[in-house]
């Protein structure tokens, strides 16, 4: 079997990924192995550089779903279909992940990173990238990354007590190199971060793209949560409640801020303590403004 570590290094050259090599050179400063840096970069570039079509299984305590997905890497949204659902929303548009680049060194400050030879997934060799949280404020991830493309072929989300919350795994996938166009070879996205005191360590806040007027977005680069503000329903006194489905938690907190009753909902793939800290931090800025 091809050594995935060597394969990623070769892949970086094949893709014409001189920028990757440059990143790797820069990030040696934080003491990570070059191969680990390369796989983090490959994972982030994969949706821009490869088109694919396949079927994956999504599993959580809520159930099992077979989902077919196509992605063109042309800048157009892909298509995703829940194969076992009769619902009108069984077919959905799926967009390319397009957040700001996150370096392996940045991730390493919040997660312990491990990389080793991975399993065969959908008939393709993978490298196994593990992100183990360094505190209780984020979930853990185990990702089987395709050695050729950097696409995640299997992902597992692990809770702070070590239990598996959600798993995605391709049963079959066809991967094709995409033509590099101006649409795909875009520059890294940048976000305007808000200065909000009291957020969990490593999380940064910005206005939610496409929903700037009503929501904030929090992320440490991997873990992410959306915060939505609304008036507290009539008759409800301050309090809190939460539900978790798979890796996603929905935490609602009713508060009185400057005489106004506000309902803050934090929804995302984060642990409950992180959701509480986020709700507490934004409570003083219910309009999502900078402080």
């Amino acid at each position: 079997m091809v050594n995935p570590i060597k394969a990623f290094a070769i892949g970086a050259v094949i893709w014409g990924c001189c920028p990757l090599a440059a990143w790797a050179q820069l990030e040696k400063e934080c003491g990570l192995e070059t191969d680990l840096i390369l796989v983090v970069e490959a994972l982030q570039q994969s949706h821009k550089r490869f088109a694919f079509a396949g079927t994956y299984l999504k599993e959580s305590a809520a159930g099992r779903e077979f989902i077919s997905v196509t992605h063109s890497a042309s800048g157009e949204p892909g298509r995703l279909e829940y194969l076992n659902s009769l619902s009108e929303s069984a077919v959905q548009a799926v967009w390319t992940p397009s957040g700001p680049r996150v370096s392996a060194c940045e991730l390493n400050s919040m997660y312990a990173l491990y990389f080793q030879q991975g399993p065969m997934v959908a008939g393709r060799p993978t490298g196994l990238l593990e992100l183990r949280p360094r505190d209780g404020l984020r979930l853990g991830y185990r990702l089987a990354v395709d050695t050729e493309s950097g696409l995640v072929l299997r992902s597992e989300v692990i809770s702070d007590n070590g239990s598996l919350l959600e798993r995605h795994e391709y049963a079959a996938i066809n991967v094709m190199p995409a033509e590099v166009t101006s649409a795909t070879d875009q520059q890294d996205v940048t976000l305007e971060y808000l200065d909000i005191t009291g957020l969990p360590i490593g999380y940064r806040a910005s206005r939610a793209r496409r929903f700037e007027e009503r929501a904030l977005f929090m992320s440490d680069g991997i873990a992410s949560a959306t915060v939505v503000f609304e008036p507290l329903p009539e008759g409800l006194t301050p309090g809190e409640g939460a539900v978790r489905q798979g890796a996603t938690i929905s935490y609602s907190r009713g508060s009185v801020v400057a005489g106004n009753q506000v309902l803050i909902t934090v929804i995302g793939e984060i642990p409950l303590p992180a959701a509480r800290l986020i709700a507490e931090a934004v409570r003083v800025a219910p309009n999502g403004g900078s402080q």
């Binding site: 995703l80 390319t96 209780g136 809190e240 409640g241 539900v243 929804i267």
Partner: protein
Amino acid sequence: MSERDDVKKGDEQATVARESLSALMDDEANDLDLARSLRGVGESDVLRRYWERQQFYRSSMLGSSLPHGSIDVSASVREAIVSEKRAYANPLVSMAVAASVTVAVVLGGQQALLLESQPGNAITAPGAVIQMPGSGAVQASFAESSLPQARLLQTTPVTEGGPPEVYPNRTAYNRLANERFESLSRLHNSTATAASITPFVSRSTDPRTTP
């Protein structure tokens, strides 16, 4: 040695053990006193009852409560140990007991983990410093694991429970959080895809939760 000598020697040992016990209760015992006290209490019912009385008097003088002060469980414990030894002589019974203990430990551990996710009381005071359960360092298990198939609920309340006087509206808020999960999942998937690298195979919104 005569019978009278044996009685006299026994009385002397009891006196010494009693003095050692007194020293122990006065926090003046040395290692020898401690050893004598433990041996004496283990061997003499009279000395054990003396120790219980002294503890009772001392606690009464200090004004502390005595929830278990008048209950002597030692005889029951000894009896139980003897009877359990007889029962465990049967290997099948031993296996059954071991299996029961294992189940109890596993279930107990799960309950303890569940309790870990309960909110701290401090969160009900706006602006207070929050002591978060689980906010410390954790050792997540990355061993091969399977999904918890037993959890068949569509959504699992993670803050249910707690003192009702502190969280009188917990149920209402859990219901609200569930409604927001259903109505905001698509928004979150959209914003998260647009603003972060995603570690998932793909982000999707379960058709059952799509408004």
